[in-house]
Amino acid sequence: MTRDEAFFQFLLRMGDNTLILGHRVSEWCGHAPVLEEDIALANTALDLIGQTQMWLGLAGEVQGEGKSADDLAFLRDAWDFRNVLLVEMPNGDFGRTLMRQFLFDAWHSIMLTRLRDSKDARVAAIAEKAGKEVTYHLERSGDTVIGLGDGTDESHARMQEALDYLWPYVGEMFEGDAVDAEMAEAGIAPDPSGLRADYDALVGRVLAKATLTIPDSRFAHKGGRNGRMHTEHLGHLLTQMQWLQRAYPGATW
């Protein structure tokens, strides 16, 4: 694997995470529990789609086959997606959606902070811009997880259930492989395992305030970030997202 091949994979991982999560969050549009949440969820989705344009735009550049961010988003099949499984999990209730958001935001904010020091100026610039947005996402999702965890008996139970359901998808975010080793060596991106301590501290703090219990197990479902095995959910998501581009190839929109 050349450095550019690894770089391309890394950029897909970043961009596919934001693309798929942005899609999931946008599914809430018009259906949130309260108007402020409709606005906040749309805003989060919008930020994530904007970040996708930057990551996948750069991915196309690095790949050097003349592909645009749109080509990469709309014309790859499931096995070519490199997002972690966590972000493709269905929304479930609002609690599960916000727990997924928080577990991702916590990783995302730490990752973007590290990426500001990337030796690749383009990566550092994207991380700088995205980092500001994600700081706000994390604040919001963290506060909501605390509010609902420490709310009523029902909201507490639902948040604990969400955490139990999603926790096995956390570990994948910290699994390094040859791509990551190559990126670390080049000084482009940190080795993911090095983010875990900060993550555990941050997540531990928030979940304690939320009066929620982190499950004992460190078992991790994997296969998203290397494309070996996505969940069944991703294919359904892509049928929707990619439909127009697939049905009317070559059209401009």
Partner: protein, 325 residues
């Protein structure tokens, strides 16, 4: 008719105060929430602002219907930004209505159980991607036509909300026109989608201005109060005059064989929409009424535990703060 209506709506109000109130309106003064106002004025405004707020909220649904299927990342981002704006408009308007002594939750309950209405346009489905263009171009276009004059409305909070909203609406219309233009200039299939969208949205857009003023019960009083600035027919004509050249530029055909330029009047002559359809939709028989209200009810009911949970947490924190003091 005019005098008679003022009388019937205002019998409980002190006649001297009424005269003074009307004088303030006539002098283009803004009425603020703490000022005295006739009961009819307050009620009419609550109905009008509330209905407008509900329209922004329900309006998220037909457009939200296409967010997950938007054909490019940029279109997806633009649509998300637009729908987010609409929810924000709902928020400003609920705040304006709240200054009249009705809470957002009360208004929401009235929407959900059918006591209050929202704009009938949102009871029509969005069936192909060009509909998203058509909604921005025609529906936001018609909304702007209605709302620009309302920036000068007599009630201060409503006027200020409209000023903020109108700034964003013109972006909505431009992005819609741009989206449908891309389709009209695109492949034969895309052009077909664009024409199909125009065919379905033309008459419902004309209906957005409401029935002819001669059939509208509230018009005259509302105009005297400057809650309504132009007649429905004036605005509808203005909309047609603005839109026809835009459709021509796109190479799309407005689905009205009788549409033609009238040299004498300096306006387009056009066919009236089918008003029996309009009243059917208002009664609940539009293509999407049941589904739209069901979606809003489900969102509200499913969200109860969230609202309760966040409220309980806020109260715990307040209690803890008080205890610590």
């Amino acid at each position: 008719m005019y005098a008679q209506m003022i009388k019937s709506e205002a019998t409980k109000d002190d006649p001297e105060k009424l005269v003074a109130f009307q004088a303030r309106i006539d002098a283009d003064e803004k009425i603020e929430p703490k000022d005295w106002m006739p009961e009819g004025y307050r009620k009419t405004l609550i109905r009008q602002i509330g209905q407008h707020a509900h329209s922004e909220i329900v309006g998220q649904l037909p457009e939200g219907n296409w967010i997950t299927r938007a054909p490019t990342l940029e279109r997806k981002a633009i649509l998300l930004a637009k729908v987010q704006d609409e929810a924000g408009h709902g928020l400003y308007l609920y705040c304006a209505a709240e200054t009249l002594g009705v809470s957002r939750d009360e208004l929401t309950e009235m929407l959900l159980d059918g006591r209050m209405k929202y704009s009938s346009i949102f009871n029509y489905p969005t069936l192909n991607w060009a509909d998203i263009g058509a909604v921005g171009w025609l529906v936001d276009g018609a909304a702007i036509m209605n709302q620009v004059p309302l920036q000068r409305t007599s009630f201060g909070p409503y006027s200020r909300a409209m000023i903020r909203i109108c700034k964003e609406e013109s972006f909505h219309q431009r992005q819609g026109y741009d989206a449908i233009r891309k389709m009209a200039e695109g492949t034969p299939e895309q052009k077909k989608m664009a024409q199909d969208a125009l065919n379905r949205f033309w008459y419902p857009s004309l209906m957005m201005f409401g029935p002819s003023d001669k059939d509208s019960v509230h018009s005259e009083q509302s105009m005297a109060w400057k809650i309504k600035i132009n007649t429905n027919d004036e605005l509808r004509q203005k909309f047609v005059d603005q839109t026809v050249p835009q459709a021509e530029y796109l190479g799309l055909t407005i689905p009205d064989p009788d549409l033609k330029w009238n040299e004498e009047s300096g306006h387009y002559d056009f066919s009236e929409p089918d008003w029996s359809e309009f009243f059917d939709v208002i009664k609940g028989n539009g293509p999407c009424n049941v589904d739209r209200l069901a979606a809003r009810n489900k969102a509200w009911d499913d969200g109860k535990w969230v609202r309760d949970g966040l409220l309980a947490h806020a109260q715990k924190r307040k209690a803890a703060k008080v205890a610590a003091e």
